[in-house]
Structure formats: structure tokens, C-alpha cells
Subunit: 228 residues, 2 copies
């Protein structure tokens, strides 16, 4: 498949599915696929078999969500590759700018990334049809695998308090890069922005949505014992 460059035309509206939902499914699916690949790659760096197992489980769960989304798209007559294509570049840029130096940064990235994705899934379920909501809910339901990260980061900081500063910075960079790419996508993909505005969401509400995402990120950082 050729990768569609940024600025490609909006996804084609099918009889059943608005272009905005096609976009949403595409970005979620490609996000899960790359999360799977990155986590599996980072898992290669993990120093113990136990960590490799936990990270591998996290990775395969992402792949399962990806498969669910792709299957849902096919059932609805949506071409998954076309739907994902507009998001290949921004998500690649995100991962390129947040390459972990070592397994611990990889773990924190996994935890932070899963959290942001989860928030995004949850915020978006209000604007989609019942079938799509069900698929998204399935992904939301079984995402507790990342919780093992909290204890590992806490233990690391207790043993080596100097690790906390760099990890806190790392968390801020992860959120910053994620929001920066989200903004690029919002500018580029009119349909997806219109999903919110067309769904009766005004700019104030979009602002509050970003505040919620940021607040939840802060809470997750604190849970790991890190400043946000």
C-alpha cells in the first residue's frame, strides 16, 4: 500500500459510516498497530523474562484491539488501509520523537500512551454509532495490563531517587508530542474536527476535553510517583 501523504483528501463517506467516524476508526487502529510494534520492540530491551512477558502481553493486547477495529471497519465496508493512511505520518513522527532510551522509558511511554489512548477512546464514544461504540468499549474494558508499570517505576525511584527528574521530563515530553501531533491531525482532518463540532460540541467544550486529558495524564504521572 502506498502511504497517503499528509493533506490527502478526506476519507470517502460510505452509505453507512460518516467520514469522521472512518477517520476516528483509522487513527485508533493505526495507533494500536504502532503501539503494538513499539511495545514489542521495547520489550526486546527489558532486562528480565518477567518484564518481557508483561510488556509482550501489553503489546499483544494492542494488536487485539487493532484486529477488532480492522474487522469492524471491514464489516462496515470501510477499507482499513485507506482509513489508516492519513495517520501514518503524524503517528510515525510521534514515535520518532519519543524513542525511549532504555526499557524504563519504554515502560513509562507504554503506560502514558495507553492512558492517553484510553482517555481519547472514552471521550470519542459519545460521538459514534452504537456498533462502533461497542468495539471501542471492548478496547476500553480490558486495558488494565499497563498497571504493572506503576509499581516498577515507584520501586525504581525509591532505589534511585535521581531517576525521578528525568522520567518526569520524559512524561511531559510524551504528552507534549502527543498533543502536538493531535493538533496537526485536527488541522489536517476537517471531518474529524467536525465530528466534535457537528456533535454539538463547542470550542469551549473541546478546550475542557483537552483539560481533562491533561488532568488525567497528571494523575497517572503522580500514580507512578512522578511530577507532571
Amino acid at each position: 500500500m502506498d502511504e497517503t501523504p499528509p493533506g490527502a483528501p478526506a476519507a470517502t463517506e460510505t452509505s453507512a459510516v460518516p467520514a469522521a467516524v472512518v477517520d476516528l476508526l483509522g487513527v485508533l487502529a493505526y495507533g494500536e498497530l504502532t503501539a503494538f510494534i513499539r511495545m514489542a520492540v521495547d520489550c526486546d530491551l527489558a532486562p528480565t523474562l518477567g518484564l518481557k512477558t508483561s510488556m509482550g502481553r501489553l503489546a499483544t493486547t494492542d494488536f487485539e484491539h487493532y484486529s477488532l477495529l480492522v474487522e469492524h471497519m471491514r464489516e462496515r465496508g470501510i477499507d482499513p488501509e485507506a482509513a489508516m493512511a492519513p495517520f501514518v505520518a503524524p503517528i510515525a513522527v510521534y514515535h520518532e520523537r519519543t524513542r525511549p532510551k532504555g526499557w524504563l522509558e519504554g515502560l513509562v511511554k507504554g503506560y502514558v500512551g495507553e492512558g492517553i489512548a484510553r482517555d481519547f477512546y472514552r471521550e470519542m464514544t459519545a460521538f459514534v454509532d452504537a456498533d462502533t461504540r461497542e468495539v471501542m468499549q471492548t478496547a476500553l474494558d480490558d486495558r488494565s495490563e499497563a498497571d504493572f508499570v506503576v509499581q516498577i517505576v515507584r520501586d525504581t525511584i525509591r532505589t534511585d531517587p535521581r531517576a525521578a527528574g528525568p522520567l518526569a521530563l520524559w512524561g511531559r515530553r510524551l504528552l507534549g508530542e502527543a498533543l502536538s501531533q493531535a493538533q496537526a491531525v485536527a488541522v489536517d482532518r476537517d471531518a474529524m474536527s467536525a465530528l466534535l463540532v457537528g456533535g454539538g460540541v463547542d470550542l469551549g467544550e473541546i478546550g475542557r476535553m483537552f483539560t481533562r486529558l491533561t488532568d488525567n495524564h497528571t494523575a497517572r504521572m503522580h500514580r507512578m510517583g512522578l511530577e507532571a
Copy 2:
């Protein structure tokens, strides 16, 4: 977990499970875990989303087999990390010596590796208890995901016949390195060798087993349109 160096003591015999079966479960599990990681890493190189999906599916299936084996070990009172430890080094050496240059070599490695693993599973089921056999059979049953590789390699060679020679060499190297590490393991792990001999298998039969593995490898190479 500390990685046990080669020459570590044989796995502890538990009340229920002979050391040889512990070894077998350990090598199968660690083989699946590393196959998962390597395939996921190689999947990152794949040029299309379709290929990434197929390779990702292959990778997650390996992880599922790994999880099944680990669960089976835990149920039998075997420490999975201890069981896998003796095989970390030889399997790491195998992967180190067979790093694919590009996604096509990665695919062929996946197909060849799955095939050899499958043969090994099948040969070994005769020597284990019924419960272990059932777990191994489950892994054997759902391993058709690699078949997509055959068509891709055939198409590649038709388009670019000069690709066939290097890929044939690559296949030979994969088998050679796999057998070389298998031999190192057999020398190092008396218990596992004894599983065969103790199971009434004489040296002639072991020779025929290697012949079968090699013949099956040759058949797989031919299926891809490659000389073995």
C-alpha cells in the same frame, strides 16, 4: 531474573515432571517468546499495512503459544523463568547470527523458523505426558498464519528472479544456525537428550529425526520457489 550461563545445572526434577520435560517446555517457551519479539521487530520494517498486519498476527500467535506454555508450567509447579534460563544464550546467539537484512528476509526467517519449530513440536510430542502433549498440540493446531509468506516470496521471485539466489542461501543459513544451536543445547542439556534415548530412541532414530527435519525444511524452501 539473572540469566543462567550455559553449563548451568539441569532443571530441578519436580514430583510430577521429569527434568527433561521441564527443559523441553523451557526451550519451546523461550523460542516462542523470542520468535514473537523478533517477528514484531521485523514487522516494523514491512512496507505495507497489510504485511504489518500479517506479520503482527504471526507474532501475537507466537506470544499466545508462549503464554499457554508458561501457564502449563505454572500449573505443574515449574518455575518458567528457571526453565527458560538455560536456553536464553543459545537462542540469543541464533537470532544474533540470523538478523534479517530487510523485511523479506524477516518473512522467510519467520516461515522457516515456524516450520522448524512445528517439526520439533511434532517430533517431541511422543515423549511427553498427556497434559503436556495437549498444550503442544494446541500450538501445532493453529499455526497456518505463516502460509501467506509462500505467495509473497513466489511473487517476489517472479518479479525479480535475481532475488532467488540470496534467499536460498539465507534459508540454508537459517537451518544451519538452528541445527548448530540445537546441537549446542543437546551437548549442554543431558536431560533433554536423555528424554529421547530414555524414551527408547536409539542414535539411528535421532539421525532419522534430523533427516526428517532437514527434508521438511527442503520441502518448505521448494514451496516458496527456492532451492534448499
